[in-house]
């Protein structure tokens, strides 16, 4: 069965995924809006940077984040001068890394939803006296709801599933940075296959339920 460290790992994982997803929705929305609307020459470059985590090995992202956030890295220097210390091997560091790692999984569905809305509803809203900000809240967000649902689920699930980045940035500190995927690795290393089975099966069940909910609530090709 699940031991105390297993439960701690599960709680930590859920906390990390929740905080990360919330931050991603806040950060991802303006990025997605800009990518969906801009005619700037930078669109391709920015879009590619956002999509990088999809193709890069997690260890590469983890390595550069480790260097950047370390005591001599630019981010590390900044956090130190702000009196925050250095981020690697802390929960905050994991959150920052997860935000980078899961960014495309949140930005892309929202961007697609914004693009699908098109120009016309915005123009209609303007002729009905809605300011641009008003239009965003009263027309764009409700119409982009399926995109937000997809983004939330994918962002959360992808963060739960990360391993390489966590290992590079967070190491393996119980109740601080030891998430479920790392805990499973530890169990296997220690030949504790029963515990590994419990956690792994739990992950499979969790992932299946998440995707099932996503596809049930948000079937593709049935847009009104």
């Amino acid at each position: 069965m699940l031991g105390e460290t297993d439960l701690a790992a599960i709680v930590l994982t859920l906390k990390l995924a929740s905080v990360t997803t919330l931050l991603l929705l806040l950060i991802g929305t303006p990025i997605a809006w800009w990518l969906a609307r801009t005619r700037s020459a930078w669109k391709g470059a920015i879009g590619a940077v956002v999509a990088l985590p999809i193709v890069l090995p997690p260890t590469v992202i983890g390595f550069y984040l480790l260097v950047a956030m370390g005591p001599n890295g630019p981010v590390g220097q900044l956090t130190q001068s702000l009196g925050l210390g250095v981020l690697p091997f802390t929960f905050a560091g994991l959150v920052v890394a997860s935000v980078f790692y899961s960014l495309p999984f949140v930005v892309q569905p929202i961007q697609n939803a914004f693009e699908a809305i098109g120009e016309r509803p915005l123009e209609v809203a303007a002729t009905l006296r809605a300011s641009p900000l008003d239009t965003f809240y009263s027309v764009v967000l409700p119409l982009a709801r399926p995109g937000y649902l997809t983004a939330t689920v994918l962002g959360f699930a992808h963060t739960v599933g990360e391993f390489g980045v966590v290992l590079m940035i967070g190491g393996n500190i119980p109740e601080k940075t030891r998430v479920v995927s790392v805990q499973i690795y530890d169990h296997v290393e220690a030949l504790e296959y029963t515990q590994a089975h419990w956690l792994s099966a739990g992950m499979v069940a969790f992932s299946f339920v998440v995707l099932l909910v996503l596809y049930t609530l948000n079937p593709t090709g049935r847009r009104k």
Partner: protein, 362 residues
């Protein structure tokens, strides 16, 4: 409404990009329906969008009923312009019910500025039974009526309509046209109506602007513009005039109605319009022929005395256009040049205009 306010629309826009140009300087009436007529690519939609502020035309000037919406120093964004806009596709917000769609604009207008109530807009367009439905449960014609009501519910100072019937089939058009005519009769605000359909223009417009390749070829009262011989070439088969009159008499035996207008009267098919009703009739140039004597042995019902005013070339070298004056009312006849030569038609000549078909258009 406010009689002290200077009324009318002044619009001056000059735009030139990617092979498309718009160069207009228009003065339009502050009430009634003004049709912006032209073929696709003539710039009529761009002009309408510029007036709405949806298209930013640098260096333009726009004044609506005494208020400057755009000049060198001003550009009122669309949401600050008190206008109503009806797009070619209804473009309802599909996440909101019909009622919420209608309320969307109204709620954003300060209460003191609301002159049209939701009930009035609903009644005017006949959409009361639809209020609690969602947009995807409506037919194309119903959606467009909701879109018009939604625009009216903002109590606009001007209503802009961009081919509101173009995306609908004939049956749906027939369903909406009566409502548009009601708007025309009951609204106290100017309406700019973009169209490429001569029959809609004949039915709805009071004032006509003919656009071609971004330039205004003509702008003036409908009857005056339609009777010009230099423009019908652009109208082709649809060249013709529109007369205003009223139903003077009904002939129950033959199911006919007599329309009296300034220059005489015309018999039309009785379509159930009561005596005394103000109507418009449209007479196409191809349905008017010219005779030197009044034939009584003809099947043609409507024969009016008229004076030849002007002859002009038509689209085909075999054809000529003749402008006639029937008791002060202009008519246009399309005849062959051979006939014109045989009858020796010349300005000032007295002739008989034989009118083969008259259509009641509203």
């Amino acid at each position: 409404m406010n009689a002290v306010m200077p009324s009318g629309i002044r619009a001056r826009f000059k735009l030139d990009y990617r092979g498309f140009s718009l160069d207009v300087d228009l003065s339009l009436p502050g009430r009634g329906v003004t049709a912006l007529f032209g073929h696709s690519g003539s710039g009529k939609t761009t002009l309408l969008r510029a007036i709405a502020g949806l298209e930013q035309v640098a260096g333009g000037f726009l004044e609506v009923n005494g208020v400057v919406w755009q000049d060198a120093a001003t550009f009122l964004p669309t949401h600050r312009r008190p206008l109503g806009y009806v797009f070619q596709e209804a473009s309802l917000f599909h996440h909101l019910s019909i009622r919420r769609n209608l309320e969307y604009g109204m709620r954003r207008v300060p209460e003191a500025a609301r002159q049209v109530s939701l009930d009035q807009a609903v009644e005017l367009l006949g959409i009361a039974p639809l209020l609690d439905r969602m947009p995807d449960k409506l037919s194309g014609g119903e959606k467009q009526r909701v879109a018009i009501a939604r625009a009216l519910a903002t109590s606009p100072r001007i209503l802009l309509m961009d081919e509101p019937l173009a995306a609908l089939d004939l049956q749906r058009k027939q369903e909406i046209l009566p409502y548009l005519e009601r708007l025309h009769d009951e609204l106290d605000i100017p309406v700019l109506y973009v169209s490429h359909a001569p029959d809609e223009v004949a039915r709805l417009a009071d004032h006509l602007v003919v656009l071609e390749r971004g330039c205004a070829l003509a702008s003036g009262p409908l009857g005056e513009i339609l009777a010009r011989l230099d423009l019908p070439i652009r109208l082709g088969e649809d060249a013709g005039v529109v007369l205003e009159g009223e139903i003077a008499e009904l002939d129950a035996e033959w199911h006919l109605a007599r329309v009296a207008f300034a220059g005489g009267s015309l018999w039309v098919r009785d379509s159930g319009v009561p005596v005394g009703q103000h109507v418009r009739v449209r007479i196409l140039a191809r349905d008017v022929s010219i005779a030197l004597d009044a034939h009584t042995d003809s099947s043609i019902l409507n024969i009016l005395p008229a004076t030849v005013e002007q002859l002009a070339e038509d689209t085909h070298p075999a054809l000529a256009l003749v402008r006639l004056n029937a008791g002060g009312v202009p008519l246009v006849a399309r005849i062959t040049r051979r006939s014109a030569a045989r009858l020796q038609l010349h300005p000032g000549q007295t002739v008989w205009a034989q009118i083969k078909a008259v259509a009641l258009v509203g």
